[in-house]
């Protein structure tokens, strides 16, 4: 499975993402700069975390309007898997590829710690290596991860199984509605999540709970 990592000014988790994808798939991902309108043939496109365009206007708002996003939209419509982590999630909602919005944390504080994630839907291309209801560890690091959607949208995504990850009870770090930590589109090929699974994939990280996500998306046997 081939993958690509998108790079934009202000994203700073791209190296971690490249390292995780390389270690798990055995192949280095190609990198795609924001102005590119042609993305090579890959099975998975990842938008990593960071602070694209300094979080100006709204987190992810400027990045979501860059040329590369049109190319990503076209690929997503063809069924290519797209994963957005942290700022990548914010970019995907701003681009309209995922429902809802991500607002300032309810505490108004930047949170950087480990939380527990419940795998709500384990029948997705991103979560097959996990089991439904499994609770995994994951680092979070963000200021604007407070998931919001109007009542109707919330009902739809809950009913469709589009809520893929929830903060396990008592660990919601940002005030997200329904403890939502990760959401996918109705088609199931675009996933956005605030936690950083790429930062918990090997013993040196103190655990490998995040590995299953990449193993699922890259279709390699989970370690």
């Amino acid at each position: 499975m081939k993958s690509a990592v998108v790079q934009l000014p202000g994203l700073n988790r791209d190296r971690d993402m490249i390292a995780a994808l390389t270690k798990i798939s055995g192949k280095a991902p190609v990198t795609v700069w924001q102005t590119e309108t042609d993305i090579p043939d890959v099975d998975l496109i990842v938008i990593p975390g960071g602070f694209s365009y300094g979080d100006y206007l709204r987190c992810g708002a400027i990045a979501a309007r860059m040329p590369v996003m049109q190319a990503i939209k076209a690929k997503a419509e063809k069924g290519v898997k797209v994963l957005g982590v942290c700022n990548g999630f914010q970019i995907l909602v701003e681009a309209g590829l995922l429902p809802g919005a991500l607002m300032r944390n309810a505490s108004l504080k930047f949170v950087c710690r480990e939380i527990k994630l419940e795998v709500v839907n384990a029948e997705t291309d991103f979560t097959r290596a996990y089991s439904k209801g499994q609770v995994i560890r994951s680092p979070v690091a963000h200021h604007d991860g407070n998931y919001f959607a109007d009542a109707e949208t919330l009902k739809t995504i809950e009913g469709n199984g589009q809520v893929v990850f929830r903060y396990a009870e008592g660990t919601n770090p940002n005030g997200s509605m329904n403890d939502i930590a990760g959401v996918m589109n109705a088609e199931g090929n675009v996933l956005g999540m605030m936690p950083h699974p790429e930062n918990l994939i090997e013993a040196a990280h103190g655990g490998s709970d995040g590995r299953g996500l990449f193993a699922s998306a890259l279709e390699v046997i989970a370690a």
Binding site: L57, A61, R65, A101, A106, F148, G175
Partner: protein, 80 residues
């Protein structure tokens, strides 16, 4: 030249933690009787045109496409 102001505010029902914090700080300064504070954004734009109707149409498109996130925000346009 046309001078326009776009005001972006959070929709009713959308939680505004920043507004809440400001509300608390105003209370701490001794300002009593504040029901609610909601924080928004203001954009002042200069448009090189004399066609106000066209400008208004363009501004609306700018709000829909970038200046506001209509999932959580409302916008209004006024002219100086």
């Amino acid at each position: 030249m046309i001078k326009a102001r776009v005001t972006v505010t959070l929709k009713n029902g959308v939680l505004d933690p920043q507004g809440k914090a400001i509300e608390g700080a105003l209370g701490a300064l001794g300002f009593d009787g504040i029901g609610q504070v909601r924080q928004g954004k203001v954009f002042d734009l200069q448009i090189e045109s004399a066609d106000k109707a066209k400008a208004e149409e363009d501004l609306k498109a700018m709000c829909e496409k970038l200046l506001a996130n209509t999932v959580i925000e409302n916008y209004s346009i006024s002219f100086a």
